[in-house]
């Protein structure tokens, strides 16, 4: 026998084989991409649902990596029929990884065991992914020289990961959303497994049952991809609807924009702020009655409302010369200016020369900043579901606001639902009265919220306005009149005054809304 110029350690030529190395290398690429996608899906999902992206991402990645280590280590205990094991592992990853996003969403919405499930899922997927590559390398080790094998497998592994990491934020997240991305990559993983039953058929032996399993897994995931929409609708009441198109964790809150069913929605800390389908009802009602009650308003203050939608309504009044928008979160106002969907919806309101944007806590801004008094102030804060928000509904806040209004100034305050949180709604009215305002409560139906309530208030006497701006989408003179009438189930109930040192509103609000969730 001639000397082996290739220097194979045993001195033997690799046995001629029908095993094709190239397609298997291609599968490495796909497997790597899928593996990274599951990791990103889990990290993104947990940071959306639990907040605090840095913490969530790093724990998910940490757990995932150690699970991969575990998988790699376990691989040495896999002895017989490596090829069959490889296909089985592929199918298992496809199933567990592919269904991870829908299952976790469901768990978050319906159970209290989100975290254990999340980490269980991450460990399972990580372990399986950790098993893949060592086993594949052992399958290929007799076909390819070791140094080439290592070089190819690792190169493709990294390239696959690179692809995935670029595709995920740029294409998958915005176009498909988390649920479909995870299902789709599961499907891809399943197809790799199924493909393996052909590539490795000589080593597997009996393939019928294995293929059947593969087909079933793929069919299930395919079904999932098509049903993803319906599924997200089903859990949407509890979690965000639809796909997430924009998400940002600011120091103050978690901002998420989702899209689906011909509209898009904004969530702050998981609470719906508006849906583009019916926000015009909400914002017209917030803005125009106040401006109708105080004609010829020149200076308008908007507190909260960093989405620019209230400002859009204010700017419809040509007599308004100056709008000051005070919103806590620079991320929010910058998103209102630059995020295409939102910018289109608010008509670029925040870039209007009449508008001045201030990023500050309105509570602190009112205490510390002095400027000319306002004719109208529109108060559009999220509902008082935390002490930090509750302070914006106190006598202290309203008195500070009063101090910045003209004597005949008017304010409109979003005041949660008089139907779902009746006590809380009337607590806002009582608190405004205790702060020296005359109050006229009103409400309307905003389908994505339910029946919603506001207060129109002024330090002086005023009448419910009779005429509003013509040409609005919802509000007419008649509709405006109707908003001020209260049916029996929302009529006034006695309530305590909400003060900084009692924060009764936060307690009432939490109690009342608990009944509806």
């Amino acid at each position: 026998m001639a000397d082996d110029p290739g220097g194979a350690p045993s001195g033997l030529q690799p046995p001629a084989s029908n095993l094709k190395a190239t397609p298997l290398f291609l599968s490495v690429l796909l497997i790597a991409a899928c593996g990274l996608i599951y990791e990103l899906v889990a990290g993104t999902l947990s940071s959306y649902l639990l907040g605090d992206s840095v913490l969530q991402f790093s724990t998910v990645i940490g757990v995932y990596l150690s699970a991969m280590g575990l998988g790699s280590w376990l691989s040495k205990y896999v002895h017989r029929n490596l090829a069959r094991r490889f296909v089985e592992i592929e199918l298992a990853v496809a199933l567990v990884g592919g269904t991870s996003a829908p299952i976790l969403f469901l768990a978050f919405a319906r159970t209290h065991t989100f975290r254990p499930l999340l980490y269980g899922e991450v460990i399972a997927v990580g372990t399986l992914v950790g098993l893949e590559i060592p086993i594949l390398m052992r399958i290929l080790k007799d076909q390819v020289r070791f140094k080439d094998l290592v070089a190819h497998v690792l190169t493709l592994d990294y390239i696959g990961a690179l692809f995935a990491s670029l595709l995920f934020p740029l294409l998958l997240m915005p176009k498909l959303g988390l649920v479909r991305t995870s299902l789709l990559f599961g499907l891809l993983n399943g197809i790799v497994g199924l493909w393996g039953t052909w590539l490795l058929r000589t080593q597997i032996g009996e393939t019928f049952w294995l293929r059947l399993k593969g087909v079933m897994v793929c069919a299930l995931l395919l079904f999932g991809v098509f049903e993803a929409k319906r599924f997200t609708l089903a859990v949407e009441e509890e979690v965000f609807a639809d796909e997430i198109v924009y998400a940002k964790e600011s120091p103050y809150q978690r901002i998420v924009l989702t899209r689906g069913r011909g509209s898009f929605q904004l969530f702050l800390n998981g609470n719906l702020q508006f849906s583009s389908a019916d926000e015009y009802r909400y914002h017209e009602a917030l803005v125009h009655p106040a401006l109708a009650a105080r004609p010829r308003a020149r200076r308008v203050l908007v507190c909260g409302g960093g989405d620019g939608l209230a400002v859009r309504e204010v700017l419809k009044h040509p007599e308004v010369r100056e709008v000051v928008l005070v919103d806590l979160d620079p991320e929010m106002t910058s998103m209102a200016r630059h995020q295409p969907l939102l910018r289109q919806l608010n008509g670029g309101a925040l870039d209007d020369p009449r508008v001045k944007v201030v990023n500050a806590d309105a509570f602190v801004w009112l205490t510390e900043e002095q400027s000319e008094p306002f004719d109208v102030a529109l108060v559009d804060f999220p509902d008082p579901n935390s002490f930090a928000l509750g302070k914006l509904y106190t006598t202290r806040f309203y008195k500070l606001l009063k101090g910045r209004l003209k004597a005949d100034g008017i304010i409109a305050v979003q005041s949660t639902s008089p139907l779902m949180a009746r006590q809380s709604y009337w607590c806002v009215a009582t608190t405004l009265e205790a702060s020296g305002f005359k109050v006229r409560p009103y409400h309307l139906a905003v389908p994505s919220f339910g029946v919603w309530g506001y207060m129109l208030a002024s330090p002086g006497d005023f009448e419910v306005p009779a005429h509003t701006l013509p040409g609005l989408r919802h509000l007419t003179d008649e509709a405006m009149m109707a908003m001020f009438a209260f049916p029996a189930d929302m009529s006034r109930v006695p309530a305590e005054v909400n003060r900084l040192d009692n924060q009764v509103l936060v307690q009432a609000y939490t109690r009342e809304w608990k009944r509806w969730s």
């Binding site: 790699s72 060592p134 690792l154 302070k391 900084l500 040192d501």
Partner: protein
């Protein structure tokens, strides 16, 4: 097969992450000692200072610009005696009630709150009225305090079992017996709050001079609060923890060393009657520094800071004070008809000539707990589990008292903040003081961080700067027998033309007591001064 290159990459990533964490462990902040001025205190005690080259005459001299000294000045003004001077050793007035500020927030260096006084405490109500703390008066004459000066909800939370809970009493997991004992204790406090003696005085008044001296009340001073609890069958660990916390918080003492009279005073004196759980609390971003600033403004140029009184000598016409002007090192002389010594009594012994000889044993009876106050300026808030951040944040399994959030009252609920962390040294006085004074600023910062790490593992990463106040003689210790002792009564007596005002004279370190002694000393001076002026 040595195939797993992935593991190597992962291991490398993990290692470099660990390495970068390790690098960041180097403290990325500056720590400085900001109070008190130990060097000047040391120079005074060393003695050997030269004679003044210049003398100034002033009718009334107040030594010490803490709450007691400033209140004395305020009262003298009310009595029409506007010609007085306050000499304060430190660069700013306020003593243990001082506040400070940095780029992020004003914050306390010591005292940080005051229970909102009821209308009966008319002098204090008047003072608070001047500061804008009272919005109006109710039909019953009770003051209505300004909303933003009353502690904003949530007031307190406690860290236990890995997360934060609402309130100071750790309710979660308390059993039936725990809750029954809590109720029994509260009933006992209610009973004491409702109790009146033959003259109609409550068992505990704020200040204590408004309370009863009936034997059954005084008897409480004979035992420790721990013994009193044992006698009442109050053994619940949760209740005892809360009472121990209260003793450490108000007096820097443990439950088994605090007089039952003082311990119960903490609870009952703030209560107007049964079921009125406790008075609402007034607080400001710079703590009681807010009240100091008001009083210092009233004093105006009559307050001279950076003036350390080295000695007070009684003469035939009154008092002579030898004073070190800290900034220049010059000695100044002041001649006054009357003086009020408003510093702590261990300094009175050193400064007032002849006092030690006259009443040394009475001065020896005072014991004091050292305190460490560390202000941590944070770049941002840490992550947390459970009840949201409150004004007062207590860690159950800690010898410290936790921290107060300086930005809480301003309504700043996100972003940078300042935390004021309090640690009383409850052990043997001298050893504890030596331990405290041996710690430099970084060591003090380390003590606070190690403690806070129990609840906030990532705290070190968030700290931008640390400002430390080491109070060697912070709080007088109300151990059994002291609050009603002869020594205390004697220490309040004027020494010739020199009167005394300091919270220590009550045996309790509280704003109301310092204020009360300031007013009392001013009234004493007023009475004698007027009769004196008539005779000349």
């Amino acid at each position: 097969m040595n195939g797993d290159g992935r593991m190597k990459r992962r291991t490398f990533l993990a290692l470099s992450a660990a390495a970068s964490v390790a690098c960041r462990r180097r403290p990325g902040f500056e720590a400085s000692l900001i109070a008190p001025d130990m060097a000047t205190g040391h120079r005074l005690r060393q003695g050997g200072l030269p004679e003044p080259d210049r003398w100034e005459d002033v009718p009334i001299l107040i030594v010490g610009g803490g709450i007691a000294g400033l209140s004395a000045a305020w009262q003298l003004d009310r009595l029409g005696l506007r010609e007085h001077l306050i000499l304060e050793l430190e660069p700013a007035a306020g003593g243990t009630a001082r506040g400070s500020r940095n780029g992020i927030s004003p914050h306390p260096l010591g005292a940080h709150y005051l229970p909102a006084p009821p209308r009966e405490h008319a002098d204090l109500v008047e003072l608070l009225g001047e500061t804008g703390a009272i919005e109006s008066f109710g039909p019953d004459g009770e003051p209505r305090y300004a909303e933003h000066m009353l502690v904003r909800e949530p007031e307190e939370r406690i860290f236990a079992g890995g997360q934060w809970w609402e309130g100071l009493y750790f309710h979660a997991g308390a059993n039936g017996e725990d809750l029954r004992q809590l109720k029994r204790f509260q009933a006992e406090v209610d009973r004491l709050a409702a109790w009146r003696d033959g003259k109609g005085r409550p068992a505990f008044g704020l200040p204590r001079s408004r309370g009863s001296d009936a034997p059954e009340v005084r008897a409480l001073d004979g035992v420790t609060l721990a013994d009193w609890c044992n006698g009442h069958g109050l053994t619940s660990p949760r209740l005892r923890w809360m009472l121990d916390y209260a003793c450490r918080d108000d007096y820097g003492l443990r439950l088994d060393e605090t007089s039952a009279w003082a311990g119960l005073f903490y609870f009952a004196a703030r209560q107007q009657g049964p079921h009125d759980r406790s008075r609402p609390i007034l607080t400001w971003p710079n703590g009681n520094g807010f009240l100091v600033e008001h009083l210092a403004r009233q004093a105006g140029h009559r307050l001279r800071t950076g003036h350390a009184v080295a000695s007070l000598r009684t003469t035939s016409t009154g008092v002579e004070a030898r004073v070190l002007e800290v900034a220049t090192g010059r000695m100044l002389g002041f001649r006054a008809r009357r003086a009020i010594f408003a510093g702590p009594l261990h300094l009175a012994g050193a400064v007032v000539e002849g006092l030690k000889a006259d009443r040394g044993s009475s001065l020896e009876a005072f014991h004091r707990s050292p305190w460490l106050v560390v202000n941590l300026t944070l770049r941002k808030r840490p992550r947390e589990v459970g009840f949201p951040m409150a004004w007062d944040n207590v860690i159950r399994d800690s010898p410290s008292l936790g921290y107060v959030v300086a930005t809480h009252q301003r309504g700043l609920d996100a972003g940078p903040t300042v935390w004021t962390w309090y640690h009383p040294f409850t052990g043997e006085e001298k050893a504890e003081r030596a331990r405290l004074l041996a710690m430099d600023a970084p060591a003090c910062a380390e003590m606070a961080l190690a403690d806070l790490e129990r609840a906030h593992p990532e705290i070190r990463e968030l700290v931008a700067r640390v400002d430390v106040a080491r109070w060697g003689h912070a709080m007088v210790r109300p151990r059994p027998g002291f609050c009603w002792s002869e020594a205390l009564v004697r220490a309040r007596q004027p020494f010739g033309p020199i009167h005394f005002a300091h919270t220590e004279l009550s045996g309790l370190a509280l704003f109301e007591e310092a204020f009360d002694h300031g007013l009392r000393a001013a009234r004493e001076v007023n009475a004698l001064y007027r009769s004196g002026s008539r005779s000349t």
